[in-house]
């Protein structure tokens, strides 16, 4: 990993000079960012990228996210692929085609350049796979102890076709709620990478828990192409399914009823949650999709989800109800009812 980078840079660690906008910045950008992200827009070397326009009827969609996940590498991914996937997904859940990404890096002085190189290579690989080039970027460096290795802010632009209108405010009473797969894999993978869980390895297999980080644009395109009456798409990331459903309930002025028995959770994640006192409804996911659609189309959407590699464990998990208090409730496996509230505190910080 190290030789091509080390040979062309003055040092093996990020220095303040790498953020100064002079010769060292130029070398860093060429040796790492241009090498991995290689495309015509970056090579132009200007303050921004000049991109084609949209098709006549298309609208623009724009989204941004800063990524501060700790640790930088975790089972199933790293901050680099997470940053690309997260932004591709935020564009895609609006129903738009993701087109271009921008990436702004905040590096901590002392970061090994080989670490940065691996992260940028990871970003480049998943961006290429998603066919969404990183067309412009920026690098800043902060002193040791003023950052935490690498933070990455990614911004995406996409094109929204005429007639596609999705959004958290479009849920209707009676809508079916579907989930594309198991809950909590990402959050539990981060926890596993961060904490020393060896003492409780007998309770669950750590190896089985890997992040679900993935780009959802293909899965979403399939759902939209099915012709189903889709009203809301969301990826239940930070705050988990609980936060996502509460947001939708508030935006649309409805209630939501879900069934615990229908919600897929991997056995290892369920066991870890039970052991550690976490709730899979609040754990972050980075490659799952929530779909709200007309009830008559629910089976069609479910079939589309399960036919896709990222939706094999999809399930119909609930229904939109009339509720002036906008409550999210869950029928438990025991047959009782519980409220699914937003958490006031932070169950697991810095998971994305």
């Amino acid at each position: 990993m190290s030789s091509p980078v080390s040979a062309s840079l003055l040092s093996d660690l990020v220095e303040m000079a790498h953020g100064a906008g002079g010769r060292a910045t130029g070398r860093l950008v060429e040796a790492i960012f241009f090498r991995h992200f290689d495309n015509e827009w970056l090579r132009a070397g200007n303050d921004g990228a000049v991109l084609p326009g949209l098709l006549p009827d298309e609208r623009l969609v724009m989204t941004t996210d800063s990524h501060v996940v700790s640790p930088l590498f975790f089972p199933g991914g790293d901050i680099g692929c997470l940053a690309v996937h997260g932004t591709v997904n935020d564009i895609s859940v609006m129903g738009a085609r993701p087109l271009w990404l921008a990436a702004a890096f905040i590096l901590e002085e002392g970061l090994p350049l080989t670490v940065l190189d691996r992260l940028v290579a990871s970003m480049a690989a998943v961006a290429r796979r998603a066919n969404v080039p990183i067309v412009t970027g920026d690098t800043k460096v902060v002193e040791r102890g003023k950052g935490d290795g690498v933070f990455i802010a990614t911004t995406g632009v996409g094109a929204l076709a005429a007639g596609v209108n999705l959004g958290g405010q479009r849920a209707r009473v009676g809508d079916a709620i579907l989930l594309s797969g198991t809950l909590g894999d990402h959050g539990m993978a981060i926890l596993h990478a961060r904490e020393n869980l060896s003492g409780i390895d007998s309770a669950f297999s750590g190896d089985a828990i890997i992040s679900d980080t993935a780009a959802l644009h293909g899965l979403i395109a399939a759902v939209l192409a099915s012709g189903a009456g889709v009203h809301v798409l969301r990826d239940p990331t930070r705050g988990g399914l609980a936060a996502t459903l509460n947001e939708i309930a508030h935006q649309s002025g409805v209630g939501i009823q879900i069934e615990e028995a229908q919600i897929p959770v991997q056995p290892a994640v369920a066991a870890a949650c039970e052991f550690l006192g976490f709730d899979p409804l609040h754990l972050a996911n980075e490659g799952k999709l929530v779909v709200l659609c007309a009830p008559a189309d629910a089976e069609r959407v479910l079939a589309t989800l399960t036919a896709h590699p990222l939706g094999g464990k999809a399930a119909r998990i609930g229904i939109v109800t009339e509720d002036s208090r906008h409550f999210v409730r869950m029928t438990t496996r025991m047959g009782g009812q519980r409220m699914v509230d937003w958490r006031a505190d932070d169950q697991l910080p810095r998971i994305c």
Copy 2:
């Protein structure tokens, strides 16, 4: 400043829960970001903003920058207005109309919310003045000692009209080089805010040195509307005029010759540079414009610059030369020649 914010939030300091994506995040976003940035796209509350398309012949321009300036407040501005101005300027120097901004915040646990509120108010004010709404955003929180108050990554999208083609690679031998005003004001204002310079106050008036942070889109629109044959526009920020001219020389494969006697520098900045051993050519500017244009149009561009409130001290400072080594040279006030190189080290870190 504090009452409306404090009253609606649980605490006066940023907590980890403010970054968790749950109830506390929602309150923070409403009490500070929505209140100041108030617009239809943010109020929609989705993962991204749905925006109109472009005009048929327009191309899209996209740019991103992370801002880590220290301290957060400095004479003439703060990290908030700097972030908006910087991104508006990066879009504008491509010759594009800035349209929309995204803002991603990384907050350090323990930051007073009144500080965040002031910074966001500052962003909102200058974004409104520039008529470029902040349409989408994100907030993350990192633990005390893993950040430094506030980092802001801003990304801008603009529309580039047909026929406008500017870029660092378009300089031609013989082009005139113009500068819209005095060099080094921002860098020296940051230095003044950061270091204790009271001991040398007799050498220069600290009060006179304030950042030049400003949105250049109006000045640039005037230059383009003048009908002059403009080839390159740049804002000489990080790395200063020296880095900007070296970049252009490399991108275009030309040499550059400037005249020290023609380069405007405020007396207080010049005195401080001399006293402290800084070079105004390497100090950052945040509201200055470099124009390269056909020599026949130089006087017209100069007249346009000087007629604008942001260009009152504009000057013609040099010429593009033929030079296979792509050197930037300066005729000194003494009549000698010196090289104007990129700096290898960091004269003044974290100025933007």
